[in-house]
């Protein structure tokens, strides 16, 4: 059965990805995450995982309560097939997460029983899901039809035929065992009765055992390919292969990931031997929300000269042109129409009519009947403040970019845009290590051209320590105050809540940051936050207030977000 709607992946992704080498599977993660979160009602992290050796058995998705790992292995599958496979895998995972008991005791069960009971459980939860989402039956069924193996009498063949029989009411099979499974399954009226289906699975496994079909758990893979490996269902505590435990799987992947990022970090640190020169120290107050006082001279901001050795591999020429292409359609155009002018390019019709009427009525009037366009120059200064704390080394959602790299990209895009239009922009960064040391770096100064040296400098900035947002914002404002332009704004780009090692109350630094934002706003300066963390909603709103922040969870839309933010920041 073919899907009703042709999936137009290729055309979409050809148009919308800037690099040709982009991994289509990775770019599928966002729409699929949106889909799975929508179907599930809460967040399930999707992640690709690969196969080391192509000689091994095909791999299956792996499910835990928080993650779904999707195989990135089968290179022969086309992109739209991959989408269909992942989509079915997600729906199947949603079915398990909604309806399956976790980690059943498996010690006394034979591997074959586990396989049969798992297949029955797969069918049961899918059927429950189909009651919720009638359309998903189409997502599943085509894999059953495509992957059924009828050729031989084997355990795998019988299981795959049973799977099809349980999902497709039209399917007829000549195996006694398959038909028995189907009849017993249909006879169970209450799909939510797990234990009844569990018994049914045991009976069928027993029958299967008597058929003396060979079963080797090492060569058995769950069918069809969208179904997970069922490690979600079982607690293999007596197997020493801890790999099957969900936490282990989860942790194992994370360990690999963090190991990789650790290696990367070490590499970067070796690469940039930081020899920091202190430029200036300045003390700032901090708001204590328990005592309700401003603790004077509480925090010390240390401005340091940002030095780096070595060149970044970033090519200035390869800068994303996407934002400039947006410019032609944006409202960022600085020019605006002046009405009721003495002279101009076009007639101001309303003014002309009004003038004529006043003349008829015998009233005074001025013949200011024209409109013309006017350009304004250098009317705003924007200070972009980058959060350079340790946590920004983490990867964004399902993507392979770190938060810091997204921050840098955003800052550079915005700088390119702002300088192109003719406004002023600076890019500063901060990280903190207790109240005595808030490190502050000026990466791009106001009025400085965005040349390759500066771009390399920004690209090579590294992350460490914590996020004492309030003090950094106060210092950023001190820097921004020296600008004499008409509009001033601070754009903070961050991944999360303020924190520092010498603070133990969650809301203390959040409240301080909120107060700092209020203080800055008193001076007619806008403060806006771009948060690169989809869970940031609650505290970011506390700090910056309704309508003054934006959560970025989609890199493709970054240029558009920046354009919106810039439009906002430069306004009165």
């Amino acid at each position: 059965m073919s899907n009703h709607r042709p999936i137009k992946l290729n055309s979409y992704y050809k148009d919308f990805t800037s690099q040709t080498s982009v991994n289509i599977r990775e770019s599928l993660m966002r729409p699929l995450t949106l889909l799975s979160n929508g179907l599930l009602g809460f967040e399930l992290k999707l992640q690709l995982y690969g196969q080391d050796n192509s000689d091994e058995l095909p791999i299956r998705p792996i499910l835990s309560d928080t993650h779904l790992f999707l195989p990135d292995a089968d290179l022969y599958t086309s992109d739209s097939d991959v989408y269909l496979l992942y989509r079915a895998a997600i729906a199947h995972a949603v079915a398990h997460l909604r309806y399956s008991p976790r980690k059943s005791f498996s010690r006394t069960l034979k591997p074959m029983t586990i396989a049969v009971v798992s297949a029955i459980e797969d069918a049961r939860v899918e059927r429950l899901l189909i009651q919720d989402y009638p359309g998903v039956i189409d997502w599943f069924i085509e894999f059953h039809i495509k992957e059924i193996s009828c050729s031989q009498l084997s355990f795998s063949s019988l299981i795959s035929r049973m799977n099809l029989a349980l999902i497709d009411s039209q399917y007829q099979d000549n195996s006694y065992w398959v038909n028995k499974a189907k009849n017993m399954f249909e006879a169970q009226k209450d799909l939510s009765n797990y234990s009844a289906f569990r018994r049914l699975g045991s009976i069928l496994a027993n029958d299967m055992g008597q058929m003396r079909l060979p079963f080797d758990p090492h060569y058995y893979v769950v069918s069809p390919s969208y179904r997970d490996d069922n490690s979600f269902l079982w607690d293999y505590e007596d197997f020493d292969t801890s790999i099957l435990d969900k936490h282990e799987i989860h942790d194992k992947n994370l360990v690999i990931q963090s190991q990789q990022s650790q290696d990367l970090k070490t590499e970067i640190c070796n690469y940039n031997v930081m020899a920091e020169v202190e430029l200036e120290r300045k003390n700032y107050p901090e708001w204590d929300n328990r005592l309700l006082i401003n603790k004077n001279n509480w925090c010390t901001v240390i401005e340091k000269l940002f030095t780096w050795t070595g060149e970044s591999n970033f090519e200035a020429n390869s800068m994303d042109r996407s934002i400039l292409s947006l410019l032609s359609v944006s409202s960022s155009d600085r020019s605006h129409r002046l009405r009721r002018q003495w002279e101009g390019d076009e007639l101001d019709l309303n003014a002309a009519i009004e003038g004529m009427i006043n003349r008829q009525l015998g009233l005074d009037f001025e013949p200011r009947f024209f409109t013309r366009m006017k350009n304004e120059k250098h009317s705003s200064s924007i200070l972009v403040l980058l959060d350079m704390s340790e946590s920004t080394n983490e990867l964004v959602g399902n993507m392979s970019h770190s938060v810091l790299s997204v921050e840098k990209k955003a800052a550079l895009l915005l700088a390119q845009l702002v300088i192109h239009i003719g406004d002023r922009i600076a890019i500063h960064g901060f990280s903190s290590n207790t109240r005595a040391e808030i490190n502050y770096y000026r990466l791009l100064e106001f009025g400085e051209p965005l040349d390759p040296v500066v771009i390399n400098k920004i690209q090579s900035a590294t992350a460490r320590y914590s996020t004492r947002m309030g003090a950094a914002l106060r210092h950023a404002f001190t820097c921004l105050r020296q600008e004499s332009t008409q509009h001033r704004a601070i754009l903070l780009i961050s991944d999360g809540a303020p924190s520092d090692v010498d603070v133990f109350f969650n809301d203390y630094l959040i409240e301080d940051a909120r107060v700092a934002v209020e203080e800055v706003r008193k001076y007619n300066t806008k403060v806006y936050c771009m948060a690169i963390d989809s869970l940031a909603d609650s505290y970011i709103r506390t700090i910056f207030g309704y309508g003054n922040y934006r959560i970025v969870d989609n890199l493709q839309s970054l240029p558009k977000y920046l354009l919106d933010i810039y439009d906002y920041l430069k306004m009165k």
């Binding site: 059965m1 899907n3 009703h4 709607r5 999936i7 992946l9 979409y12 992704y13 148009d15 919308f16 599928l28 966002r30 729409p31 699929l32 949106l34 889909l35 979160n37 929508g38 179907l39 989408y83 989509r87 729906a91 989402y133 009638p134 359309g135 998903v136 039956i137 189409d138 997502w139 309303n350 009519i353 009004e354 004529m356 009427i357 008829q360 009525l361 989809s534 909603d537 309508g547 003054n548 959560i551 969870d553 989609n554 493709q556 839309s557 919106d564 439009d567 906002y568 306004m571």
Partner: protein, 270 residues
Amino acid sequence: MSSIMQDYRIQTEPFYRPTHNEIVLYEQAYKHRIPLMIKGPTGCGKTRFIEYMAWKLNLPLVSLACNEDMSSSDLVGRYLFDAQGVTWHDGPLTLAVRYGGICYLDEVVEMRQDTTVVIHPLTDTRRILPLDKKGEIVHAHPDFQLVVSYNPGYQSPTKDMKPSTRQRFAAFEFDYPDAAIEAEIISHESSIPIEIANNLVEIAHKSRKLKHHGLEEGISTRMLIYAGILISSGIDPHTSCDMSMVHALTDDPDIILALQGFVDAYFKSN
């Protein structure tokens, strides 16, 4: 005089399904002629509610969709040339003030703040509208009431009302109706079975959770009604939803795929 306003009267009862006690609240507000502000996402029934109330209270309804190029003349009126010379023409607001009725300014925050101030003397106890150019002060008809609406969700942060304007209004906060009521509305408006309407509502709920994740607004009740109308006229649900909900809502290919996923999850292919 009444013939002028005849065109503004609503002849047949508009379908409106109350979600809370908004009808009673409106009637009380109208009794005291309190100006009203209706906030809510696009397509959730704000305009329909006003139409219904105008019909129920038997009042003419003068609606005006606001935009940022609007000047105060567009509201209060202007002199125009005619055969005799120049003649004053009342604007929509002046019409409602002079002859009585509800003046409904839709998307009021789109209007520039300096234009909006012309409604100030109308919306306090004075209830007058000075026509500077004509040298006339119009005292509001006893039936006159001002109602404004806007959508706080997607308004850009640059557009907002002055506090001095806001504070003249009592406010209703509208949202999409609860699932059961929304399905009932869709089923009624588009004549589709309630089961299909339920599915459409479920899809909409999932899309509304994508707000702040790439969507400025989720699928509205109005979009669902369009989808329902297309379905009831024989177009298959997938195509109907694609037309009226998915592609109408966004250009973002990721979101389109996700929305189509929701649609596919609820409707089997033929």
